[in-house]
Symmetry: D2
Subunit: 349 residues, 4 copies
């Protein structure tokens, strides 16, 4: 089989590097284009990345020798993964969609657009039905799909099966987020050693809104948001990768703790779809007292599974638990790749 | 003035060391006795502590040459500070009370006893009226007072003035606790580097119950607990000292955010009592986006003040905020010393 | 092919766990026995390890259900890997050798014995010629081989090819060692956060002596130690895995910097032996200014390769450089496994 | 007494902040001017520093309301402390000296100038005799003095008394340096968590050269450098403040270990000069196995003393030991303040 040509927009940043790392050896996709700002263009990726490649391992040799191009819609590929900074992603992604590319974006800019799916294949694959509407906006065969914020993804994954069966009523969540979420150079070491920073700019509104779109429905060509409230408090802790979240949940339907755990453990909607990046199962419940832990659990399912633990009664809402997800894999590049795999499987590429 | 002789029960552990450090140069109290297990007895404190003194600075020379005694009620002092391990504190503290000593304890064992004050001088000094009842239980002039758990103290300090004025209805709290709370050797480095442990044995029940006794009233010789619920989730993070807490609060009375901040800033019930360890004010509200932070704020008021920040609306309960307290100063030795200072001021020693 | 049955002595500690993890799926060896202290015996490994399994991933299911046995020479296997604590390894390993087992040990007890090879297959495979002498001591077909201390291995690997070609004259080394070298619970978090401990008990003598045996020769049935001196200073730093070493080296023969780098890069004595754990090449020289770094380079060659960098002139001796090795893989379990693979290849099992 | 007016050049960076913090309440000096780049000028220091004040405690209120000026020689003060970035310090400090100011600089630019003292008052106060020569260069009553690099200072302090008595022959040193030495934002957290960076740009040459000027003599109006070699390897470790150094030393005169320790402990050349920032003694030798440690020892003498430990025989040179100094106090702002105190005491201001 010929692999599909893909380009990486914003290929030099941390998320761009993760895309390249995760796509190395991918059975369906082949990175043929790396695009970045004008400043980096016209040199090989290896040259541009000297001293800047920060993910584990070395640059895959085939990508290393690609010439970096500017982010203009003249790339030789059908699919673009966007790791663009949110300061430029908005119009650039639109330009690519108009020019007929499929853009699987990790940037926040278009997530809440009324005709852009904010996609988690395990959760709201039916939202892809909006795509024709978007295509007609662009007047092309291109479109944009997005994956959720890195702190929203773990929460939504844990909530999705519960919401379907027991109807979520209220969520209070405090996040303990890893540092890689801030990119590179990101958080200065002087700010997080022997410390916690109880604030991440712009994060709480995303955690409070994105899950409601994802868990909502597509009705008559419109997204109807899920009908419950989330209250989030976001902190940055001394952890490299992995967002841990302390969740209190109220449900509209009665459910026992065993019901909730069963629901999580039975959740595996993609289990016979054979998507290369889909973890099976996508949710793992650990029964130890002291799990999930970022360093020990973040790589479950190659960083694509979410790990839940410590479910117990809450005296204010109904239950409380912890959930962990890998913020730069499931919560960024890996999520966008899984989305594209799903599109391919459903003949939407 | 002659200083009051005090003994330290459990003088060799981390909290015992903090007592000795904080009492050095104290204007009212003088450490004349250091007591520990049989294993340590009959050598000088300096000898016993070789390689075990872990708080900053050196052992105060006068204490270094004291002979360590066993924890039997034959110490030459009026007041004992107890830093005993909870596995032995229960009966040992009782023995001292029966023998006529005043015991200001940091151990959890007697905190919830029906005639033992769980004291924060700024909050529930009136609970000391129970002491005569306790004395008659022991048939002596001795008694026990306790200070709260290190994760409960910051929460109660932040809640106390709000509860008085606006009546707390519901609390959901997630703690991010420093490592010194686990003593020494305590948490292995392999467990917390690049990691968070979302569990601290026995901690959540204490955070959920102790504040209700402290914020309750003493009625007809009985403690009546405050009438609201707390739901706590406790985590251990990569921080040396300082417990940061993410709090969601529901109130029975209406209050604006400005009301809450004013209430915190006006709170200073001990401000003209001239207690050596009392911070003034005991609560500090910081208006920056990203405070309080453990390393940057834990030493406010010499570690005796609590720092509050990021008050904002909560879509589920009424408000949310962060509070920070120094767990081994205000949350342990410093709290017990302040309690004893208050007893002295009120002629209860 | 039938895999060779192997047992793990000291299977519950950190190094024991690494043996089990690294041997999972091994093409030649199959863990059939797990042995530990009397306290752990007669329960399944899974039961014994509840809350104690600390390496990444879960216990391999087949090992999980093995019954833990005591460390007596009644194990059903030909080969034992010893991860025994040095307080008991001495006589226990001898008992196994006498009973006819081959013991590949990570413990320090027999490393300097006059008839025990201190083996690195890339460096001193010829030392195995001592084995018949050892067998006759035990009066059995069993024997002990050992791998070097985790801080010695990186140094010896870097020195071996240089010594062969240019004759090492003098070595001064300062180590910056990872925490896993101290086992679990090991170093308390309160000792290493925002800190360095400039001392590791017993480490400097090992780093100063073991390389001289390894780089020495076997002459007339006796080990003749290499004829140069090493002066070591060992520190513990805030790193999970990986020992970084700052090395100053004097050589007896003249050599240019390019000579040294070429010598390192050409070093690959096992390259056509097809040993499953042998990295190829075993030494990697990185030309960046700021490498090797523990987190970024420790997993080279699956943790079996050593990474060298920053070679430059020294104004006191001849050159200086940094070398890094993974202390619990190449420096412990992985090293012992590679040793056993070499024995197997040479028909010594 | 009227305090001397002092200005801070580069008042907004990390070292500038330290100057302001350490000078608060100084008995002789009063900060009357804060100067920075054009960008910051004409606003109050409090405004400029919003979100940028990173040292402990709050901005001293009197300084907070000062108007930030540009770094032009129109400041109302006799003495300037320079915390200027090395990209601009060179010509700016000259301009101030020409205009008649005394500049006590922490910047590297003029340290090696042939008529600029690189001063440690305990070590080479006699180098101040060069000042008239410098004044005649500027044609004014102004001049520049400098304090050494933060990694050089601890080494020189430990070497100074040894060199005087036993004549240093050779030094090999590996540094483990704290993060605050890189300023703010400085080292990204992703680079140092679970990691060490074995490189600090430009540091090794400074550590190898500055001590030779300081330990040299002033002969016939010229600095004659000390006649020995230093070979340095510099690393950045996960420590907030404090540079730990592993030193191997060769001496020209014979000396026992006891001689060395006595020499260190007797070293206190400023002990009756009553300089406010001078630690007494400036060198502390700790006899424990595992000291000095950055977090536990860096604040000795309010961060102005250096701590030495683990002296032992070296098989290559003569001895080896560790030394620790606080890099932003003794190694930066505190050092420059002590230098100015010495000038004042000697009527050179």
């Amino acid at each position: 089989m010929n692999r599909i040509k893909v380009g990486i927009l914003g290929a030099t940043g941390m998320v761009g590097q993760r895309f390249i790392q995760l796509l190395e050896g991918h059975p369906w996709f082949e990175v043929t284009e790396v695009a970045a700002s004008e400043r980096s263009a016209n040199r090989t990726y290896a040259e541009v990345m000297q001293g800047r490649w920060k993910v584990e391992g070395d640059i895959p040799p085939r990508v290393a020798q690609l010439t970096v191009k500017e982010c203009t819609p003249e790339l030789d590929c059908r699919l673009c993964f966007s790791a663009l900074d949110s300061s430029v992603a908005g119009p650039l992604e639109e330009t690519f969609a108009q020019a007929g590319y499929v853009v699987s974006s990790n940037s926040r800019n278009h997530r809440m657009d009324p005709d852009v799916p904010l996609l988690i294949p395990e959760v709201n694959a039916d939202h892809l039905a909006i795509i024709p509407q978007q295509k007609s906006r662009w007047g092309s065969n291109g479109y944009i799909i997005t994956n959720p914020n890195c702190a929203a993804i773990g929460l939504v994954m844990a909530l999705a099966p519960l919401h379907k069966r027991f109807d979520v009523d209220k969520i209070i969540v405090t996040t303990l987020q890893g540092l890689s979420g801030a990119g590179y150079p990101g958080v200065p070491s002087l700010d997080v050693i022997d410390n916690v920073v109880p604030f991440i700019g712009g994060e709480e509104p995303k955690v409070e809104s994105e899950p409601l779109k994802i868990l909502g429905s597509l009705n008559g060509g419109q997204f109807v948001f899920a009908d419950f409230q989330i209250s989030a408090s976001c902190t940055r802790v001394h952890v490299l990768d992995g967002h841990l979240e302390s969740v209190n949940i109220g449900l509209k339907q009665k459910a026992s703790a065993a019901d909730l755990i069963d629901t999580w453990q039975e959740f595996d909607p993609l289990n016979n779809q054979e998507l290369p990046s889909a973890p099976s199962p996508p949710l793992i419940y650990r029964r130890e007292d002291d799990r999930p832990q970022p360093r020990r659990d973040r790589n479950e399912g190659n960083g694509m599974a979410c790990v839940v633990g410590r479910l117990r009664k809450c005296s204010i809402l109904d239950y409380k638990f912890f959930v962990l997800s890998h913020n730069t894999i499931r919560g960024a590049a890996g999520g966008a790749i899984l989305n594209a795999e799903y599109l391919f499987k459903k003949d939407l590429l």
